[in-house]
């Protein structure tokens, strides 16, 4: 009876977790999706009053912003209104002048964004990382042979046709996975390559049931770890990092209406988040709950 009960509780937990997995990163979304949705707060610009932060779902879903932003408001008196969208859409909001500051993770597009004059500058803020998890006994011995080399790990998996679960849902994590496969010059296909078409939580459960390997973001794995017979096999490879940058939007994108963008507040936000205090707070977040931080600050 106790076992059944604890199992039920575990399922309850897992299901509640599914809701927390980072939503699809719609970087591929059409930019036309957003025109005309003028944010109401833009009507009355205040010198310092509030800023609009456009960011990705992962920072919001992980609870990091809920933890950070009140402290920022306390320090500066600036209120932050967050819009959590995919990276692609966040950048587009910047271009359309619908946000004052961006916190996103697509370094190449970000640099482009600044270069073309839509943003004034860009600073590294933090990174989170992806990990390869697999069965506890690690039949391919990836942990021994290549603990931080994801490419050779994937190569081994495909050579040996070991089961591998892919998100297969066109999300940010799925794109990241495909990018790494591309880098190995392998086109994964066959019975061993399981395309789930599901969220991160579901995929982890599936990998657990099938005792397969999968690539996951660390936060989701840590939050479900107790219910999984899966262990981290490969981590800390450069290819597995997900760098976040902060960019204040250039007021000139709005032309003569440039005063509608709170550039001062945006700059203050950037300076705060890359300051020692901001960075320390990022490092603190998640330690209490998961034993290690979910995001690792790396501002210069």
């Amino acid at each position: 009876m106790k076992k059944v009960l604890s199992m039920m509780m575990a399922f309850l937990l897992v299901f509640s977790m599914i809701g927390c997995t980072p939503k699809t990163d719609t970087s591929g979304d059409k930019p036309e999706d957003k025109p005309g949705t003028e944010t109401p707060s833009k009507e009355k610009p205040e010198a310092k009053g509030s800023i609009i932060l456009s960011t990705t779902t992962s920072t919001e879903d992980s609870g990091l912003l809920t933890f950070l932003l009140p402290k920022f408001t306390e320090d500066t008196g600036i209120e932050v209104k967050t819009v959590a969208v995919g990276t692609g859409q966040a950048l587009q909001m910047g271009k359309d002048g619908e946000a004052d500051v961006l916190l996103v993770h697509a370094k190449e597009s970000e640099l482009e964004f600044v270069e073309e004059g839509s943003g004034t500058e860009r600073e590294d803020v933090m990174y989170n990382d992806f990990i390869l998890v697999g069965p506890k006994d690690d039949p391919l011995k990836l942990k021994e042979n290549s603990p931080s080399d994801i490419k050779s790990g994937l190569k081994k998996i495909s050579d040996e046709k070991a089961k591998f679960v892919s998100r297969g849902d066109d999300s940010g994590t799925h794109k990241k996975e495909l990018k790494i496969w591309e880098a190995t010059n392998i086109k994964p296909s066959g019975d061993w390559y399981i395309e789930a078409g599901a969220g991160m939580g579901d995929v982890l459960k599936m990998a657990n049931e099938k005792q397969a390997y999968t690539i996951t973001d660390r936060a989701t794995y840590l939050s479900m770890k107790d219910d999984l017979d899966l262990e981290i096999v490969i981590e800390k490879d450069e290819d597995l990092l997900n760098q976040y940058g902060v960019i204040p939007v250039n007021p000139e994108v709005l032309g003569e209406n440039s005063d509608k963008i709170n550039n001062e507040g945006a700059k203050e936000f950037m300076n705060w988040i890359i300051s020692e205090k901001g960075q320390n707070l990022i490092k603190e977040y998640g330690v209490e709950e998961y034993g290690e931080p979910l995001f690792i600050p790396n501002a210069k």
């Binding site: 199992m7 399922f11 979304d29 849902d169 066109d170 789930a196 599936m206 099938k210």
Partner: protein
């Protein structure tokens, strides 16, 4: 608005060009739901008929419970089957979760109460008469149940069609126990749900149309059969 119209156009194209992925999904759906319906019917119909004609204490309460079970949510069935089949569960060693077999099991359990309830109701209202005739002809218990089934075959066929419709149109149970794995456990309803969240409407619409067509064909076949009879 254009994307809806475009979606329909592309959907029709996908159907008439016999897109392989779509038809694989459709066939898997048909296979899983037909197998589940047949299994459930084989167990539930004879049982339902025999309980319907039987006199026993608490039959009214029994009816009520049965009718409640008929509308058991598919996610609940999915959850229960998933817990039992999970690696940590009692049947974990069979490694059935996230396979087609698990989907058939879940849909069988989903449809069984429905099929049982419908046959139970049918035999409660119309089985008695036939049973009397059977007994006068000297039939034993088994034979009289068979006679009832034969006499009521049109209504029973409608029951089977209803069960099949419920099985093929549900998404909760197959999503949980199947996991929507491409080429393996991806059926019509789970694909529609996934395509919607990915914003890929043409395929979702195409499958929606096919799902409706299947229901239409099944029900018109049953209808024309019952007319002939």
């Amino acid at each position: 608005m254009d994307y809806i119209l475009d979606g329909f156009k592309q959907a029709i194209n996908l159907i008439i060009s016999f897109n392989k992925e779509i038809f694989d999904i459709v066939f898997l759906s048909l296979f899983v739901s037909t197998t589940a319906t047949v299994l459930a019917s084989m167990i539930s119909i004879p049982l339902g008929i025999s309980f319907g004609i039987k006199k026993f204490r608490g039959k009214r309460l029994f009816s009520r419970i049965t009718y409640t079970m008929m509308s058991i949510p598919s996610v609940v069935v999915g959850l229960l089957v998933a817990i039992t089949l999970s690696r940590r569960g009692p049947f974990g060693r069979l490694e059935l979760l996230y396979t087609t077999k698990a989907m058939i099991i879940a849909q069988t359990f989903l449809v069984m109460p429905l099929s049982f309830g419908l046959s139970f109701g049918l035999s409660k209202s119309r089985g008695k008469e036939i049973q009397k005739v059977a007994i006068t002809l000297g039939a034993n218990k088994y034979q009289s149940i068979m006679l009832i089934i034969r006499e009521l075959k049109v209504d029973i066929l409608v029951n089977v069609a209803t069960s099949f419709s419920r099985a093929i149109s549900e998404v909760g149970a197959v999503m949980i126990v199947g996991g929507n794995i491409k080429y393996h456990t991806r059926v019509i309803t789970t694909t529609i749900s996934m395509m919607n969240s990915m914003g890929d409407y043409p395929m979702a619409i195409a499958l929606g149309i096919i799902l409706l067509l299947i229901s239409f064909i099944v029900h018109s076949a049953i209808y024309s059969y019952s007319k002939e009879d």
